[in-house]
């Protein structure tokens, strides 16, 4: 499947505590752990197959949310209306 294939044989197929593991992975993906997070991540992904798969799914979801959830176009006159209202209020 990818370069990790030969290593994946050594991975645990079951995760001891999916909830806790997944929450940790999610925090790392959200950038909450900073650089130390990357080390923890490498270790986790190498050791645990469910975590490895979960990580890729989570990453894909963040990616599509960020890139494919189109932003609603701002109505053209909105900024102008706001400035006018503020002038009135001054």
């Amino acid at each position: 499947m990818d370069m990790n294939e030969e290593k994946s044989g050594a991975r645990k197929l079951r995760c001891d505590d999916t909830s806790k593991c997944f929450e940790l992975l999610e925090s790392i993906l959200d950038g909450e752990l900073g650089n130390p997070g990357k080390e923890v991540l490498k270790e986790k992904l190498a050791k645990c197959q469910p975590c490895f798969e979960h990580f890729h799914l989570e990453q894909a979801i963040r990616e599509v949310l960020k890139n494919k959830c189109t932003k609603q176009a701002v109505p053209q006159e909105l900024a102008k209306t706001i400035r006018e209202k503020i002038q009135e209020a001054k």
Binding site: L57, I61, R62, V64, L65, K68, K71, P75, T81, I86
Partner: protein, 197 residues
């Protein structure tokens, strides 16, 4: 985010803060408002209200702090306090109820075998958007703030007036619910799932 009026800005400073630090966020603000209300006019009103308030209370904004987070907090409060009351939407459950309801472990997403990263990547923007929009407003909100707008947990805690731990757990549940929706789409659209292999 302090409500305390620390100092007064001169008229010139006010204008420069408003133009330089507040107005550049109008796109994100409108997008957030639209995803909360699903209505163009309501979204416009909400953004306009927020900007008028931001100007009125500009002295409680501390220059150099995160203007976007400050504005989002005002918008979210306006939405809850004013807009939600006169909303055309059916009444939504409030935070407390949502939190309790989903506080059981059985909502935890059951493994990844039935939703694959590849199928998610193949989905269209509309499908992702619809899945997000179908979540209850409190769950939708944390995903918008985190994934679409890139706020940190700490900033989200301030915007939503909830502890960081609650941000984390609400986000976790929101993503699980989103995955359930996406799984539904994936099956419906005939994307490849493990079961078919």
């Amino acid at each position: 985010m302090s409500e305390v009026q620390r100092r007064k800005y001169s008229q010139e400073e006010k204008n420069s803060i408003f133009d330089g630090e507040f107005m550049p966020h109008i796109d994100s603000m409108y997008n957030f408002a639209y995803r909360l209300t699903f209505d163009e006019d309501d979204a416009k009103d909400l953004v306009q209200d927020t900007y008028l308030k931001s100007y009125r209370f500009i002295n409680s904004f501390e220059q150099g702090t995160n203007a976007k987070a400050w504005l989002f907090r005002i918008l979210k409060n306006s939405f809850i306090n004013e807009y939600r009351k006169k909303s055309k939407q059916p009444a939504k459950v409030d935070y407390q109820e949502v939190e309790t309801y989903y506080n059981s472990d059985d909502v935890d997403f059951q493994g990844t075998t039935d939703l694959r990263a590849e199928s998610v990547k193949d989905m269209l923007g509309d499908e992702i958007s619809n899945a997000l929009n179908s979540l209850a407003v409190d769950f939708r909100t944390v995903i918008i703030l985190c994934d679409l707008e890139g706020f940190t947990y700490e900033e989200m805690a301030k915007i939503l007036d909830i502890p960081i731990g609650t941000v984390r757990s609400r986000l976790h549940r929101a993503r699980n619910l989103l995955k359930e929706k996406l799984k539904g789409y994936a099956q419906h659209m005939g994307y490849k799932t493990d079961e078919e292999e």
